[in-house]
Symmetry: C2
Subunit: 221 residues, 2 copies
DNA sequence: GTCTATATTGAGATAGAC
DNA sequence: GTCTATCTCAATATAGAC
């Protein structure tokens, strides 16, 4: 046998766990090697550099996001439902891949500093574009307010959702779907107890009914 | 004269600018010294270490936040108005101290890694507590929804606001007050074009009228 | 208070034997 | 594919003269 099967994956998952817990910088290649059970030099048989490990972790994660977001868009739903499903998908991904999520959240600075990671940043920009597309769709079809620039909403929402996914491991209190419902309801319906009057197209018939299972639709039942 | 007046401050502001632009780690003490116009060894006459500089920058920033948030609370307003004013204050602080804001946003990982910064983290926790207090006040007095855990809202909002303040220097498009109005309106009224029915205390008279100048109040005028 | 010079350390990476 | 041994480099910090 010329290799232990899955040694590469073992390095990736071990490194991801350590990067997430202690940060990329303060995780040394020696520590990764120790945890895997080899010596540091041996890592370089599998990867060209420490940053190559980081890159592979993050590109895999971002590719997974793109695919899953793409599946949501392919359903061709209204903007409100799409937004809800993208929130839900994001929380699911945060739960499925907590380490990659944490790395992506915590290490933006590290990534920004190194030209090496421009591919990662490009993939991240693509993902951001998906959010923006949904928001603009909603404004265009009248289901979202047009008195607030999509840019403002777009700047607020995706980061907030991913940050909410922080520590959303198997442990923490809320299960994924109700949390997605709650977050979407905050962003769409607001946190105020009294529905406020609206500028713009508030008189129009909403293009999309509240999605099934949302807090708002439960309330009206 | 035993010192150039303000040499300490010059080091602090210079370092802050560089930390914000390139990150703490990739800013070396030599570069800071160069930019200030001295040699690296001389910095150690003014500060014990590089991290001491970081600490002083951040503690000053967090102390400023605490004071300004405290002024908002001292006005004894309703929860919705307080929330709006805390959002506004945060955006103003982000504009007044963009470097400290960026450092605080970007370098959480750096701070978490080092026990030295536990004071900074404690101060940050205090600030978080102020947000939570306002949210709980609003839920208690019926102006905020009680069908969504305050913890969820609290996890969503402060970070989103500070992230919105990113790059909110003199340049970027929106002036501070309208932006604060828009953000608060998203969080309280929602982004949906159609006010949704509400669970919980939605039938009660709101404890607080919409604040003057908010999008919601303009809409009803 | 600033300079010159240097100590110290830590980490990523490499070469070549096995 | 892994190990041993080591290189190289960068960066914080220090000591002591001026």
């Amino acid at each position: 046998m010329t290799e232990s099967v899955g040694r590469r994956e073992l390095i990736l998952t071990t490194a991801a766990e350590m990067f997430a817990r202690k940060g990329i910088r303060s995780t040394t290649v020696r520590e990764i090697a120790d945890a895997v059970g080899v010596l540091s030099g041996s890592l370089y048989h599998h990867f060209d550099s420490k940053d190559a490990i980081v890159q592979e972790i993050l590109m895999g994660f971002l590719e997974a996001i793109r695919i899953r977001y793409g599946e949501v868009l392919a359903r061709g739903q209204g903007a409100a439902k799409s937004l809800h499903d993208i929130v839900l998908t994001s929380l699911q991904l945060a739960r499925e891949q907590p380490d990659a999520t944490a790395i992506y959240q915590n290490e933006l600075q590290y990534l920004r500093e190194r030209p090496r990671f421009k591919d990662v940043q490009a993939a991240a920009a693509d993902v951001q574009g998906i959010w923006l597309g949904v928001i603009e769709q909603g404004v265009a079809d009248g289901s979202f307010r047009d008195d607030i620039a999509p840019r403002i909403f777009h700047r607020l929402v995706p980061d907030a959702v991913w940050l909410s996914g922080r520590g959303h491991r198997a442990d923490g209190g809320y299960s994924t779907e109700p949390l997605a419902d709650a977050i979407t309801s905050i962003f769409l319906d607001g946190f105020s107890a009294h529905p406020a009057p609206r500028k713009g197209r508030s008189g129009q018939v909403p293009a999309t009914a509240p999605w099934p299972g949302s807090l708002a639709s439960e309330a009206s039942a």
